[in-house]
């Protein structure tokens, strides 16, 4: 007898909770008509950014490629003597059909070049359209990190920055000086 009452009570309680929900605001977003808010650090599509001077940030160090757990980043370093005498990627390719958006590449990047942005709409009918080359990846801005320019802190010489002109650097040593 007690058991039967318990069943009925649970039934009514359940129906009451369902009934209560009828008057609350739904959480479902009417995507795509309605766009959800994605925070800036949301890990979506990968971009290559530029430094504050408008130059490519990527120095082709291969760290993103080696950090990538699915090995979907391939690049080749080259040095362009006409533009700034510094290292660039000759090509930079991400196969997004393999990418798992883990953001390890962004973590590994020592120059803030590679960044994940809050864009996840990358569906394609053909897989080959998911293969992005450098032209597709490179944006014209600095992305999430505005001030950083790797070559201003690195010790190597580039076309418009001589030895000793980086931040926190002394002028080059004169080896022939006899001063103590």
């Amino acid at each position: 007898m007690m058991k039967t009452w318990k069943y009925i009570r649970d039934l009514v309680l359940g129906l009451w909770i369902v009934f209560k929900r009828t008057f609350t605001k739904p959480v479902t977003v009417q995507y795509p008509e309605e766009r959800p808010y994605l925070p800036p650090r949301w890990r979506g599509r990968i971009v290559l950014t530029r430094d504050p001077d408008g130059e490519e940030r990527c120095v082709a160090c291969y760290l993103c490629a080696v950090a990538c757990p699915v090995d979907c980043i391939a690049l080749q370093a080259t040095e362009d003597p006409t533009a700034h005498e510094r290292r660039y990627p000759e090509f930079f390719r991400i196969n997004f059909s393999r990418c798992i958006y883990c953001g390890y590449c962004e973590d590994a990047c020592p120059t803030y070049a590679i960044q994940l942005v809050p864009d996840f709409e990358q569906s394609e009918y053909a897989r080959r359209n998911m293969v992005y080359e450098k032209e597709d990846l490179l944006i014209s801005g600095t992305g999430k990190y505005h001030g950083y320019n790797f070559y201003r802190v690195a010790g190597v010489k580039v076309l418009d920055k001589d030895k000793g002109q980086a931040e926190y650097e002394l002028p080059p040593v004169d080896v022939r000086s006899l001063m103590p």
């Binding site: 291969y62 080696v66 699915v70 090995d71 980043i73 391939a74 010790g155 080896v175």
Partner: protein, 919 residues
Amino acid sequence: MASIIVDNRTYAVDERKNLLAACLGIGLNLPYFCWHPAMGSVGACRQCAVKQFKDEHDRCGRLVMACMTPASDGTRVSIDDPEAKAFRASVIELLMVNHPHDCPVCDEGGECHLQDMTVMTGHVYRRYRFPKRTHRNQDLGPFISHEMNRCIQCYRCVRFYRDHAGGRDFNVFGAHDALYFGRERDGTLENEFSGNLVEVCPTGVFTDKTLFHHYTRKWDLQSAQSICPHCSLGCNTTAGERYGILRRITNRFNSRVNGHFLCDRGRFGYEYVNSDNRIKRALLRPELDRTKPAKPEGVPQVLEVAADRLRRARGIVGIGSPRASLETNVALRSLVGPHQFFLGIDEHEHRLLSTILNILRSGPVPAASIQDAEESDAVLVLGEDLLNDAPRLALALLQSVRQQPMERADELNIPRWDDAAVRNVVQDRQGPLFVAGYRRTWLHDYATGTYFGAPDDVARLGFAVAGTIGADAPSVPDLTDEVRDLAQRIADALTQAKRPLIIAGTGSGSHATIEAAANVAWALHQRGKQPRLSFVLPDCNSLGLALLGGGSLNEAFDSISQGKADTVIVLESDLYRRAEQAKVDAFFDAAKTVMAIDSLEHRTTAHADVLLPAATYSESDGTLVNEEGRAQRFYQVFVPDGDIVESWRWLRDLARAESQEADGVSGVATWCNFDDAVADTAAAVPEFARIGEVAPSAGFRLVGQKVPRQPDRYSGRTSMLSHLTVHEPPPPTDPDTPLAFSMEGYRGPVPSPLIPQFWSPGWNSIQALNKYQEEVGGPLREEMPGLRLIEPVATKAPFWFTAIPRPFQSPPHQWLLLPLSAVFGSEELSSRSPAIAERISEPFMSLHPSEGARLSLEDRITIELALQGTTYRLAVHLDPSMPAGTAGISLVPDVSGVRLPAWVDLSEAIKAGRKRRVA
């Protein structure tokens, strides 16, 4: 053996080692910078500090530098002691104070000893917030990039360059915290071993400039064992590839051959593999009409036409190559038959090689490995220019001169690893090194006695030494007092030595010097000494080819001119480098069909009616026999594009196509994989019987798996080909070796030829080598250091060579033209590499100043010389070391067709050359 206690655990170690080497040898991680297994300790960097305790009751202990402390019995140390750890961390922190923020753009990154050691000590956070010291860099030539900011002042570079490799144009400058390691001013590093700075430098001050142009990190390189094809020494190398381009060569430790160092020709000569002049497609001359150029054609059609030609041939001449592997030569021999197989070397070289082979086979004295040379304590070099023909052997001799003086250090109980102290004892003293030849090089600066003379006179000196040492050895009559005294000095030095070494070779083209060297060695052997012989040969597989046997190139020419054959197959060889132009032209004109298999375009391939693209050493597997008679295996590193396959596969396909209609195939036509090639090679000559033991066969597996050529951090697997196809094609299969073109497979200890590259967790630089050795400096674990094919019978009585030449005298108006080889330029393949090509000097002729006066030639003028049907533009170098009556011609690519030595009337030849210039 001594037992030492490290962190309360007892280990048995070699008491002749220092604590650092002992700890590394037993597999412990202890950071270091300035110590190097081949260069000993100086205690400069203070990085390897450990705490040493008096006994088990000592709780306090004291910090000592492990590299400066002997691993004597009962030594009790702690690596993990907190104070020692803190000390090491602060040393790194101090070293990193001025180290730039460069790793992403530094070519050393990912294989940097400084990175490894920084991680090992746990220094992770930079506290220093003040400006960094900077330096200007120098242009050090086409091989080495210089970035002085990164320097941590360990002094390894100067110790290697000056103390170990005998260089003079590199040093340390400045004082206090502004030390500068470089040249006095910008300029190319002159030393032939400068490339080792890349590996010796623990950080990125010196990096490989050829790698810089197609930069790839170590973890992205698909690598395998290779054998350097650029001279006869057979140094072991590791070749690395990415995206179908051979990226770089690094040294590969072999305890019997090259040890820790390579020469620059071997390290930077690889780029010909990526050359635009590579033959990538099978080519066929339309209707085999010589007036038309050969055109790319489908492989089946080319093979069909070639097979048809072979079937209809009156006879086929096969010309083997001393720079192709044994297996490839055996394949050609099998295709054409032993009687129609000729070695691609001229009669003169053939005779020299046969004599050398005879001496090694039938004499009582064994051939010396490079390590033997390094350990020898008295050396006689007869007629060889080692720095240019066999540079790594010259580097070994620079170490050998320290052997005798170092015995003084032993007497004083100074351990050999204590480099600074040993050098203090040794001072300028040098052990006996006698160099006889006709050209002065900087190696002579390290010689205790030198002799300059024509090859005949050098041979006479050798015979005189032999006659002085051995009672039975023929002696030389009518010697000058000066030569007799020198011979006596040499004889004394050699007989007093424990491990004397005699070096001769084919470099001067003299038969007599080779025989003289054998006489000296045998005379020493008769006196109960244990001498060794070393013969420098022209090519990487010269001795292998000599062992295989076959006629000389001239016999091949005769075979065609006499009409015995009308079809020629030239294997990996430019005949224009090996015989006179007119003869080769006539040979090709007389042949109905010329087939060539090679990797690079050259004058011979231009004559080919059928041209098949051959794989280079990094794209094929094979066995090479070095000058010591050591057979070593090189492995394919990557799969080339185009129609390129291994030469033996082309020969197999030709054999199969040819015998299509014939019933029953045999020999090369039955080969399926490389193991079949090895099996047939083993059956070819009795000496090759054990050739299969050189390296594991194709069926070798560990835990049922192949060994991956790619490191487990290899990147880009799913995107490197995705611009072509997104379907990720499977990696190429490798039926020939136990290695795989993949990241997947067995990772763990493997037999040494299968090690893809030296790497160990926490040890990303080439210093990871110590994790692959039983003990530091010793052989690799499971080492297969190659197989010596020729072992002497020590009890055999020597047969004396008695053909002592008469003193050299040039007939009136005749000059003996002698070859002057060049480390950069004389070898065919490496001189096609851009970096090496930059170092090739202008062709020149060397003359004694008196000869210059006789011919009224001034120093540094340019002449035209008509020689063997061609006119050459040569600079004149007046060199007092050149003997009177001779002239040296530098063997650079422009002059590669000249056959030397040769007698020439120089005044006529110069006149003819000038006339031609006017015309």
